[in-house]
């Protein structure tokens, strides 16, 4: 199975363990992610927060790049929810709003043909491979691991743009983790915001928001949190206080544990809250 791939800026920096686990998981599943040539930053939240048209034009240039590279799959997969959200917003505007489309086409210098489809890695794995294929790859079911799935904002909202599931109670990651055998706990905070960029300017506020989320995760009986977003992971991983912080995983890392993929030490060493002791206690790592 082949897809074109937009990795986004954080795979070489703050989300490097996500990138490593993605590479391992897709290789083991026989999924090929071909990186599109010469992509640029999607603009993240900053671009549209200060200039709306910039926030559409930056991701639109990537759609233009993907559109040009016709030897690659028109399904453009991205693993970062922030990038997914920005690319989807641009695609939504280009697709549905003629006046904006003309402006963006003129700004970026391309003609939108609507053929590129923006998809998230999690959605592609759950929908294209599905339960049967994925659960057949499990060598060590995660049944001893009590988890809550944390989706955050960007993957699900705004619903009309992302087109993913129920924005109040998405189940995609819950299902995927259940297929890996995990003991997935239900909780009401899966799409609450983590405080996002405020971490850099208002660290104390984000600490409070994260503290609340972690309290609720514990209340649900979870010993770890799993996410797909680099910003959520960073905020939850770095902003917990107290002596017994919960490890915060990327979903592909836990797929890697269940599928018993090699070189996992190089993922755990990048975490601030070391997941090693928990995984060792449960018998998943030595």
């Amino acid at each position: 199975m082949k897809f074109s791939y937009y990795p986004g800026c954080t795979v070489h920096s703050t989300a490097i363990e996500y990138a490593r686990s993605i590479d391992a998981v897709v290789a083991a599943l026989g999924v090929e992610l071909a990186e599109i040539e010469d992509w640029n930053c999607c603009g993240a939240a900053a671009a549209h927060s200060i200039h709306r048209k910039l926030g559409l034009a930056l991701p639109a240039r990537n759609i233009s790049q993907a559109q040009k590279q016709t030897h690659l799959s028109p399904d453009l997969v991205t693993s970062c929810p922030g990038c997914f959200n920005a690319l989807k917003r641009a695609d939504y505007a280009l697709r549905n709003d003629e006046e904006t489309r003309k402006e963006i086409e003129e700004t970026v210098g391309f003609a939108y043909n609507g053929e590129v489809r923006i998809r998230s890695l999690m959605e592609v794995l759950t929908h294209e491979l599905g339960e049967e294929v994925l659960s057949a790859k499990v060598k060590r079911p995660l049944d001893r691991l009590k988890l809550v799935c944390y989706y955050g904002c960007a993957l699900v909202r705004p619903h009309a743009v992302t087109g993913l599931e129920n924005p109040e109670n998405p189940m995609m990651m819950d299902n995927l983790m259940k297929w890996m055998g995990a003991d997935v706990r239900d909780w009401s905070y899966k799409t609450e915001c983590c405080g996002a960029d405020l971490a850099l300017t208002h660290g104390d506020m984000v600490q409070k928001i994260v503290g609340r989320l972690i309290d609720h995760a514990r209340e649900a009986g979870a010993e770890a949190v799993v996410t797909s977003c680099g910003l959520c992971q960073a905020n939850l991983d770095m902003r917990q206080t107290g002596t017994d912080p919960l490890p915060v995983f990327y979903f592909t890392e836990l797929m890697g544990v269940a599928m018993d993929l090699p070189n996992r030490k190089g993922w755990w060493s990048k975490h601030i809250v070391n997941p090693g002791p928990l995984l060792a206690r449960l018998g998943y790592e030595s």
Partner: protein, 192 residues
Amino acid sequence: MDYQLTNQPVRQDPSFANEIIEATGVRVDRCYQCMTCTLGCPVADAMDFPPNQVMRLIDLGAEEILLSSRTIWMCVTCETCFARCPNQIDTAAVMDYLREKATAKGIAVPEERIQLLHQVFAENIKSFGKVHEATMLMAYKLKSKDFFSDMGIGLKLFLKGKIPLFPSKVKGLDEVKRIFEKTYDQTFGGKS
């Protein structure tokens, strides 16, 4: 700005609401003040006007109050308000509009650090086409003169090998720069 209660009847001025509807397509005039947006907003307690009051202020034509508010900068565009609004009002899109307008007008902002962070982030993309955390954080620290808060976090990431020293540049950087010239630079006059 003085915002005093008076016993004069408030005169509603629809021109600001109309301007927003025109520019964003968001039907702010549909708000019936149910406060669902505010109840779900993760940062409402740090705002001077919570999201439902933003709608009310728009209704009153209180442009100056909104453009100089803390609210518009505290909003993290999580879109929870929009997801839950019974009238499909995308408050987050309105916040984008208000931030852009406040910046273009050069209004003194009560949350300078947040505005600065957005600007520094955008300008980092203009320089490299991608974000390079080390130069971005350095520029933010220098311009905000906020040297000490949270240095520990940056240091932790750096020691974990999560902040690369050298930026990687987009080959089509001229294309990215042209996008900036036609958008950001045009609105903010090349410097903001």
